[in-house]
Every structure is written in C-alpha cells, then in structure tokens.
C-alpha cells in the first residue's frame, strides 16, 4: 500500500468549546491538514513551544488564558512571532476585533465560521508564511543572525540612524606578495579558511562583518543591535582572531607553507548606521569619522609593527581590563590633529 500523503500543514485549534473544536478539526482534516487541539490558551502556548505548527486558529474567550493573552505572548516570543494566527470568535464589539489585529492576528473570522471562507483564508495565510520563510532563509544565508533579525524587525527599511559603536578593520599583511607566490586555488583556499576563522571570532563576540574586500574585512560592534560593552567586545574579538591565525599558521607551517600575519585597527564613537544600496541589493554599513579612523589605524599597524591598534575611546572603554601600550600621538592620513594610538599588548588580564 502506498504511504499516505504528508499533511499540507500542521494546524492548531485553540478553543474551549468542544463543539467548536470538533467543527474546526473535522472541517480541516479533509483538506489534507493535520490538526491539533488545545482547550485553552495556556495549553495552546505549551503545544506551540513544544512542537512545530504552521498556523494557529485562535478563539478569544477561553478560561485560564484568553486569546488576547496568547497573541501578546506570541508577539513577545522570537520563535513564535511569525506564526500566522487566524482568530475565529463571536466576539462582541468592533474594538475587540481591532485589538486582535493590532496584537498581530493575521485575520479575523466571525463564528459560525464559513467553511469555504476558512479554507481560503488558511490557504492565503500558509502561502504568506511560505514566502516569509523563504525570504528569511535567503537573508540568513547572506547575513549574520543579528542583521537578519534587524532586517526582519525593521521591515527591510533602508533608513539611517546615529549609533554608538566600535568599528574594526583587519587585513592580511603582505598578502599581495603571497598571492603572487602561490597557485590561485591555494589563495582562494587560504582566504576561505581565513574568513571562516575571522567570522567565528567576530560573531562570538557579538560583532557583525559587513564588508569583505580581498583579504580585508570591516566589522561593526554595537550595531545594528545595541551592545553595552562594544569596545571591549571588539578588542576581545581581535585577540581571538590573532589566536586563530596562530592556529592556522601551525597547520600551514606543518605543510611548509608560509605563516600569515594580520593587522587590526579599532576605533569607537558615533557612527551613522543603516542599509545602503537598493531594495534589491543592500548591505548594512556604518560611515563617519570613527570608521575612517579604524581604517587608518589598521594601515598604521604596518608602520608601528604591532598587530592590534586602538584609538583613545576604545582604550577608555577597556578600563584597564586588557593591557595596552601607549605608542604616542601619530599623524594619520585624513586627520587634522595627531591621534593618540594604543597597541593592545596581549591576552586579557585574568578576571579578579
């Protein structure tokens, strides 16, 4: 015998009334859906948190936890926020129906529910969910989870705003010479290994890589999502990057390949942050003096012969938690006044 077709979708019916539950469940199963039932809002939420559902049919008047409370809880739960909810109720008062929609319900169907209408609304909701899931998957593949989340919340608005954060620039020292001395596939292999390590180190500390050019990258700490200790996070990420490059070098030296070295510049301050590009292709980025300063500090690592250079604001943010050496005031390209430059000395001081 052939296997039965997998259900079209998994639906949950939350209703305290047995006749209503029966009516909805039996109405939906012949349409190919698998249907679960909950007798009140609390049970419904428990089930939604335990097993995956594609859509919730929600009654409002229920004991223990009513439909309004369920809608509030769903909105507050990042994992359930996008679950489509169709409210089916015989609520009195337009304001109550408006409240459902404002609380995030996708649709409202008065009881007794018309079977044909219900089928159409469920079909439309599931199709919208499928498109949203596809879009989320695309964004997830091309951006960090923070950016993906921010994009979803802002509804892909290409707006700009002032934020306080730390910016990091990093690149591989003497990379051009290295590229010329080895076959192209080795260069790409090295870049991929290098980027994987750097992304991990940066993401582990809450940073977001927003640009990659050749062997260089730019990362932001404190945007798009605010972060309290972005200066320290950026410096800790830089230290971890250096550590991971050392590990990579051990593997490279074992197969007679030259070691690589990186240079990192970090600056902290006001940033103009936002999505630049077009609706079709946009990237989250930051611009402003802080960004320029971080880029100049990274350039200066060659001259200073130090791996990680930071500006006074980042140094102040460290508050002595990570040892630094003052290199003195340096005239940097594009800066009218000399900037005090600090080199991060090494590993963070052990916690007291």
């Amino acid at each position: 015998m052939a296997e039965p077709d997998p259900p079209l979708a998994r639906l949950l019916v939350a209703d305290d009334n047995k006749v209503n539950r029966l009516l909805l469940t039996r109405g939906l199963e012949p349409q190919g859906h698998s249907v679960g039932c909950a007798e009140n809002g609390r049970i419904a939420l428990d089930m939604l948190r335990r097993e995956p559902f594609d859509l919730l049919l929600l009654d409002i008047e229920m004991p223990e936890m009513d439909g309004f409370q369920v809608l509030e809880q769903l909105t507050a739960d990042p994992k359930l926020r996008d679950l489509p909810v169709i409210v089916t109720s015989s609520l009195e008062g337009l304001d109550n129906i408006v409240r459902c929609i404002e609380l995030g319900a996708e649709d409202y169907l008065p009881k007794p529910v018309n079977a044909v209408l219900l089928k159409a609304r469920i079909g439309a909701s599931l199709e919208k969910k499928r498109l949203r899931d596809q879009q989320k998957e695309l964004v997830r593949r091309f951006a960090t989870s923070e950016v993906a989340q921010d994009l979803e919340q802002s509804g892909f608005a290409l707006g700009g705003r002032h934020v306080r954060g730390s910016v990091m620039f990093s690149d591989i020292r003497g990379f051009t010479a290295l590229v010329e001395s080895q076959p192209p596939e080795e260069t790409i292999e090295l870049l991929n290994a290098y980027y994987a390590l750097m992304f991990d180190a940066i993401n582990d500390h809450g940073g977001v890589v927003n640009q990659m050019i050749g062997d260089g990258l730019m990362a932001i700490f404190g945007a798009p999502l605010p972060m309290t200790d972005h200066g320290v996070a950026a410096v800790r990420a830089a230290l971890e990057m250096v550590e991971r490059v050392e590990l990579l070098n051990t593997r490279r030296l074992a197969v007679d390949k030259p070691a690589i070295r990186i240079g990192v510049g970090i600056a902290t301050g006001e940033l103009v942050a936002g999505y630049t590009g077009t609706q079709k292709r946009a990237t989250y980025t930051c611009i402003g003096d802080t960004v320029n300063l971080a880029a100049r500090l990274e350039e200066h690592t060659k001259l200073a012969q130090r791996t990680i250079l930071i500006d006074p604001a980042t140094c102040a943010a460290l508050g002595g938690r990570i040892p630094v050496d003052l290199l003195g005031a340096v005239a940097l390209r594009g800066k009218a006044l000399p900037v005090e430059v600090y080199a991060v000395a090494g590993r963070p001081a052990p916690c007291a």
Binding site: V19, G27, E61, M62, S90, E92, P112, A115
Partner: protein
C-alpha cells in the same frame, strides 16, 4: 418561519458543508456539553464571577449560532453583554433555560428525521 426554534436555512447549510452524519455527532456533543454550560452560568451568577458568567454565555451563544438556534443565541448574547448586573432578578435565567429545552428537543427531532 423566522421565529422557529432552529433556523432551517442555517441548519441545512451546516448539514451541507459538514455532512449530515457529522452534524448528528455535533448535535450529540452539544447536548452533552450544554448542561455543563448552563450549570456554569448558574454557578457563576450565584458566586458573582463575572468572567466565568460571560464566558459561559458566550459559549452558548456561539454554539446556538452554529446550529441556527437564533432565539437561544439572542438570549445568551443578552446575558453575555449584560453581565452579572443585568441578571440580578431570581428568574433572570428562566427564559434561556426554557428556550434551551425547546432547542434540545428540536435538534433531537431534526437528527432523527
């Protein structure tokens, strides 16, 4: 007849979309559940529990509309909207209880017939 206990058009439509056998099962379930809703209504009224009173009235209204028991639905809706204050008289629930008896008999007859 517009003042029928069960609105014929609504009931026929329900049978049409859900199937006559399933409607029998629904009626059976309603007749099993309704006495508990009526008891809940009486208890909530006696104990002064406004939420439970409104919910029980709402549930009765909802099911009555499903089967086309329009008079019962209207009485239940009055209680739902009026709340405890509107049901202070000792005989406040009597019209609803009497109408429920008529609805129960009519539904049983429709399912046999």
């Amino acid at each position: 007849m517009s003042d029928a206990t069960i609105d014929a058009a609504t009931f026929a439509e329900l049978q049409d979309s859900a199937g006559a056998d399933f409607v029998k099962e629904l009626v059976q379930t309603f007749l099993e559940e309704a006495p508990a809703m009526l008891a809940e209504l009486r208890q909530a009224l006696a104990a002064g529990q406004a939420d439970a009173f409104r919910r029980a009235a709402h549930s009765l209204k909802s099911n009555s509309l499903t089967f086309g028991a329009l008079a019962l639905a209207a009485l239940a809706r009055e209680l739902e909207l009026g709340g405890l204050d509107a049901a202070r008289r000792p005989d406040a629930l009597d019209p609803l209880l009497a109408e429920y008896d008529r609805v129960a008999r009519a539904l049983e007859a429709l399912c046999r017939g």
